[in-house]
Symmetry: C2
Subunit: 109 residues, 2 copies
DNA sequence: TCTATATATTGCAATATTACGATTAATTAA
DNA sequence: TTAATTAATCGTAATATTGCAATATATAGA
């Protein structure tokens, strides 16, 4: 009934799904890409550059933060966001581990 | 509202988000893992093994197929599903390209 | 043909997500 | 203190997702 049955899956499967869900939105991908190419903190520059309202961007940032993908520190009036290095590495490993489970095509279908 | 504003993002960002969304559910991750470790076709074995109703699994398979992540061929009464090799490779490359944009930590936050 | 088996589709209820205006909270500068 | 700036939160509307029972469809075998 509209709610995912997390209890029937492994901790790993649920965790990966949660991480992927946090990534699975063009606005959040755009936000992360900006942080990565800037290679520095991004404050409120996002609003106006992305074409979404301030409340919406704040919401997306919150989701990325909850997923542990970014971190933010208060910098005077504004807030300074950037990629969370350790967790990003973990995400890379987790995802690569998943993708690499596929051992190449076996002519069947 | 409540609908993603795809028109303000790049084609690339939207595509990646769509792929990630297809992956972002524990049931679909579980299904893909089974296909990968089996390294062969999976027919209806999924029902009963996963703990979800047949209609629900059929729905998840459809989503994975729409995203191009799996392919299925009719094999008598049952249907034979497996990973779509080319698209899986593309996904790997697309995702790696995205993850690798991060050039390591720059002490800022 | 009739029956059994396997999968897809439909319709629906419960819940989640997306987006934004309005408001609130916190900090800086005057 | 007051005003300005920035970001978070609240409330709400629109839409999407998840899950399942019921039903439909399709094939194989008797």
């Amino acid at each position: 009934m509209g709610v995912t049955k997390t209890e029937i899956f492994t901790e790993e499967q649920n965790q990966l799904a949660t991480l992927l869900k946090a990534l699975a939105h063009p606005a959040r991908i755009a936000i992360l890409q900006r942080m990565m190419v800037a290679n520095t903190c991004i404050c409120g520059d996002l609003v106006g550059e992305l074409g979404l309202a301030q409340a919406t961007i704040s919401q997306h940032l919150k989701e990325l933060k909850n997923a542990g993908l970014i971190q933010g520190t208060i910098e005077g009036v504004s807030v300074c966001y950037c990629i969370h290095p350790e967790n990003w590495k973990k995400l890379e490993q987790h995802l690569n581990g998943f993708l690499k489970e596929f051992k190449g095509p076996v002519s069947c279908c």
